[in-house]
């Protein structure tokens, strides 16, 4: 399940946020602290997770301390989805 979430997130980020269809992200690559995703895209990412999996990520959680990589975000989504 987690791998599926990572794949979908990867596709969303590369096509919608980075606009680079040729790029694939490493699941452990730092997205926020590495400067790949800015604050606007983070909100978009939270909305995408909410619409796709019904996993609510609070406004106070959109930072590198809560999640910084695809793997960490997928884990958070899995937990929230289960709840």
């Amino acid at each position: 399940m987690k791998d599926e979430i990572v794949t979908q997130l990867n596709q969303y980020i590369t096509t919608q946020i980075l606009k680079r269809t040729d790029k694939t992200l490493n699941p452990n690559e730092p997205l926020i602290s590495g400067g790949l995703i800015d604050s606007f895209s983070l909100v978009d990412l939270a909305l995408f997770a909410e619409q796709t999996w019904g996993a609510r990520i609070d406004d106070t959680e959109l930072n590198a301390q809560t999640f910084d990589s695809l793997n960490q975000l997928a884990e958070l989504i899995e937990v929230r989805k289960a709840n």
């Binding site: 606009k19 400067g35 800015d38 604050s39 606007f40 909100v43 909305l47 106070t60 959109l62 930072n63």
Partner: protein
């Protein structure tokens, strides 16, 4: 904090580190933080205000705790001891006015006991009523947030602060015509207020961890972070109080390193640069473009070393007591763009604004039909305007905030443009770092100079226009 105060706090950490088997670290931090609120508060021209403001800081922390506990919360012995200790400490400090050898921890001689008793009684009754009638209720929590914002606005706005100063002078029987905007110098309130809003807002969202009164008050007024932050989050702070702590060699070394770096940055580099950093006086004396840039660059480094040095000191002191405070700076002047700059300058303030203003606003606007560029512009400009106004509700801080808002918006649009068009070659990083530093430095002109005419004159001189 003065050098002496920093050394006394460090000495306390070193000494206490040997005795945590004998007494509790959490009670020590609670008592030390409560006393430090009084000790660090400077004198005020308004009678007794230097004593009443710290008492209200503690009272406000206790009231907000009472407001945020769960509806079915039952007060326990430790909470009662903490509440009693707070009242006892305030009364004891007030009583010190009668004992010259131990007087005074405060800036002046504390007020007479009956005044202190009245202040403590009012705060206690207020806290009790809030606990009985309002705890956990959304209307009360929202009202609390609005009240704190209203106090911040009054304190930060010169005309309102002067008006409030007149009122308080009237109450204390002093000449109201002598009131000024700096009468109410409430130490650390900007930071206390943002911590309180954070817990109230997280309580509303159902995300606030349950914390005892003792640890809550320590979090709000933790002495290393009282005067200049950083703005820690309670869910990161409180668990650190629960874990066991021994001040071993490695920890001591880590804390010592941060303190030495911080003291050097603040008291050597920043204070040294202050001699020729841009200020309202030298701005009017310098006519050459080159020298004006020297003043401006000196100011840019002075403000960085001052604030970053202070953060090192706060983190170093925190480490001596087993508390790791968050970083506030990450080499901001080496960043290649303004977005990266704002991810590394006053990090905890920027993060606070993202959590409680920028993200909710963007989320709300994103779900409508507004074009993305307009959302970016509205969110960036308004967030940065508010960050500017947090420093003071005056035109120069507003312009400083908007200057950065425009920079962030332009950078965002540039990224959108270059992202889909690979023909745009990336600007070499040294050039972009220099450009970013230049942009940030020009922003400091507004920050350093409250008078518009003076700021415009400096900008013209910097560019050799009509100097």
């Amino acid at each position: 904090m003065s050098l002496t105060q920093i050394f006394i706090f460090a000495a306390l950490g070193l000494l206490a580190g040997r005795f945590y088997k004998v007494f509790s670290r959490n009670w020590l931090l609670f008592v030390a933080s409560a006393l430090a609120v009084f000790w660090l508060q400077p004198a005020s021209p308004v009678r007794n205000l230097f004593f009443i403001l710290p008492a209200v800081s503690l009272g406000l922390a206790a009231v907000v705790w009472a407001l945020t506990v769960p509806a079915d919360y039952a007060l326990n012995k430790q909470d009662a001891s903490a509440a009693g200790s707070l009242a006892g400490l305030v009364l004891l400090l007030s009583a010190s006015r009668y004992f010259d050898p131990v007087c005074c921890l405060t800036a002046s001689r504390p007020p007479q006991m009956e005044i202190t008793l009245l202040v403590v009684a009012v705060l206690a009754v207020f806290g009790f009523l809030v606990y009985r009638l309002g705890r956990g209720r959304a209307a009360f929590l929202n009202f609390g947030i609005l009240l704190i914002i209203a106090i911040l606005i009054v304190l930060k706005s010169p005309s309102l602060a002067e008006w409030a100063g007149r009122g308080i002078r009237g109450l204390s029987g002093q000449d109201a015509s002598l009131a000024s905007s700096i009468d109410i110098g409430w130490l650390g309130f900007s930071y206390i207020a943002f911590r309180l809003i954070h817990v109230l807002r997280d309580r509303l969202a159902g995300r606030l961890p349950q914390v005892s009164l003792r640890d809550f008050v320590t979090y709000i007024v933790f002495f290393p972070a009282l005067t200049a932050g950083p703005i820690e989050r309670i869910e990161r702070f409180a668990p650190q109080l629960q874990s066991e702590f021994h001040l071993d060699g490695n920890r001591l070394l880590g804390a010592g390193r941060r303190l030495v770096v911080g003291l050097f940055m603040k008291f050597v580099l920043a204070d040294g640069l202050a001699f020729f950093a841009l200020n309202p006086t030298n701005a009017q004396q310098v006519d050459s473009t080159g020298w004006m840039w020297v003043l401006l660059v000196a100011y840019a480094f002075r403000i960085f070393f001052d604030f970053a040095g202070y953060t090192h000191i706060a983190i170093g002191l925190g480490l001596l007591f087993g508390i790791l405070l968050p970083e506030n700076f990450d080499r901001p002047y080496t960043k290649p763009n303004i977005t990266a700059f704002w991810n590394s300058w006053h990090i905890t303030l920027a993060q606070w604004f993202r959590s409680y203003y920028f993200n909710p606003l963007t989320r709300g606007l994103r779900t409508g039909n507004m074009p993305p560029w307009l959302i970016v512009m509205l969110a960036q400009l308004s967030t940065m305007a508010l960050i500017g106004l947090w420093h003071g509700i005056t035109w120069n801080f507003l312009v400083w905030g908007l200057w950065h808002g425009v920079g962030l918006f332009v950078h965002n649009q540039w990224l959108q443009l270059t992202k889909s068009r690979s023909a745009f070659a990336a600007v070499p990083s040294q050039v972009s770092t220099l450009l970013t530093f230049g942009y940030v430095s020009l922003g400091w002109v507004w920050f350093a100079l409250p008078e518009p005419d003076n700021a415009m004159r400096v900008l013209r001189t910097l560019f050799g226009v009509g100097a």
